[in-house]
């Protein structure tokens, strides 16, 4: 449908106003779920692919994400009666002792843009809080960020709590940040490692698929 293509195209250009107004027009004739899937998320998928292929770069992705939210703001009230479609629920935060949150924020923005529900605990987050929130919110993934070699060790504490509480089969962990690596993730028992925000989104998608598969659930998207 042309209007959905238009929404996708303007989203890719990061034009919030156009995406907002076209989404308002579209709700008159198209089911919100179709606008979400075939307009907004379709546009973000193109952005994701171009970003991976180094055809566009971070600023363009972030502008597109903001445009995506402009469309989501229109759709959200329409989903109140039914459950808001989500690709999965993720708890994110920068670990205790660390105040760097730009990288974590970028992951949150990308995740929301990809249709995930994100609970952002902010920075300087104690290990217990990650796990308590993931449990109380029924989240599938805990994403941890650190920018210091001293604070990255806190990630291990979170993973140990998940294991001690026997939650490993339904809560997965992923880490990211300048000093961490796939090797470090393996060493501390994290389920995954995201080397940048786009890669983190891909990895989280895989983790959620694994958990849903294990529990026999069907993914909503």
């Amino acid at each position: 449908m042309e209007i959905l293509n238009e929404i996708s195209r303007y989203l890719q250009h990061g034009d919030c106003e156009k995406v907002g107004s076209l989404t308002r027009q579209a709700v008159e004739k198209v089911p919100p779920r179709d606008i979400l899937d075939n307009g907004l998320i379709a546009g973000m998928n193109v952005i994701g692919e171009k970003y991976k292929a180094h055809e566009i770069f971070l600023p363009d992705v972030l502008l597109a994400a903001k445009a995506m939210y402009a469309g989501m703001d229109v759709l959200r009230p329409l989903f109140l009666k039914e459950e808001m479609p989500t690709a999965g629920k993720v708890v994110i935060g920068t670990v205790r002792g660390d105040l760097h949150d730009i990288g974590k924020n970028l992951v949150g923005i990308m995740l929301r843009g990809a249709g995930f529900e994100v609970i952002d605990l902010g920075n300087d987050v104690p290990p217990e809080k990650f796990v308590e929130t993931a449990q109380s919110e029924n989240a599938t993934v805990i994403g941890m960020s650190a920018l210091l070699t001293t604070t990255m060790l806190v990630m291990k504490d979170v993973i140990e709590i998940v294991k001690e509480q026997g939650l490993s089969d339904r809560i997965r962990t992923i880490i990211g940040g300048a000093p961490v690596s796939a090797e470090f993730a393996h060493e501390i028992g994290a389920d995954s490692y995201g080397y940048d925000s786009a890669h983190a989104v891909e990895q989280i998608r895989v983790l959620i698929r694994e958990v849903n598969g294990r529990h026999g659930d069907r993914e909503k998207r």
Partner: protein, 247 residues
Amino acid sequence: MREIVKISSDATEPDREDVLRMQGIPMDKKPSENTVHLFEKSMELYRTYAQPMGIVSEISIPAFEVVYTGEALNEESTPLDEIFRKADNLALFAVTIGEPVIEEIDELFKSNEYALGSMLDATASAGTEKAADVLEKHFFDFLEKKAETNSATTILRYSPGYCGWHVSAQKQLFRYLHPEDIGITLLDSFLMRPLKSISGVFVAGKREIHVFGDSYPFCRHCETHSCRERIRIIMDKSRPHSRHGGV
């Protein structure tokens, strides 16, 4: 000598290519119009909010040994361990561009202006590096006035948390330098506040003392190997007082 240096924010304005590189945009790629617009806007904000300040204090080799050793958590062998004893002069330093920029970045993210917030973050990081460059030049000029430099004198800076020098050495560095006097504080995790701050040691000496290999065990985990470029620059003898970049 121990000196607090108020740095002009004009002198710390970062180069566009440095900021865009921090945004993941390679130099050979043309940035989009939107990106160029964001960069220009972030520079305006930087000019409004940056408050660069620095502090520098000379330190003897034996006194620096204590700072370097820190909490005894350094790697067994590090480039700096080899270098500082060969220095002609050493000085501890810290610079910051202040808290208002950080607050503005937070505000931008809170108001969903992610692209501008992220661009200002990169601009602020590059600006902090520039502020350290200015302070480094200030130290060089000080040595020059004392006639303690010659044509081979080169200053490079090294920071705790890089190249095997454990970040916990910040504790001793703060004990000696007192960057609190310019508003920089150290958290228990050895993180500095304001976040856009750099601390470390200026090592002045013959350019050859700064040359080292990148085969230390910790080099395997280094993603940038930016030391190679620094060494290449300082060994380019056509350049006067060369420095650039810290580890």
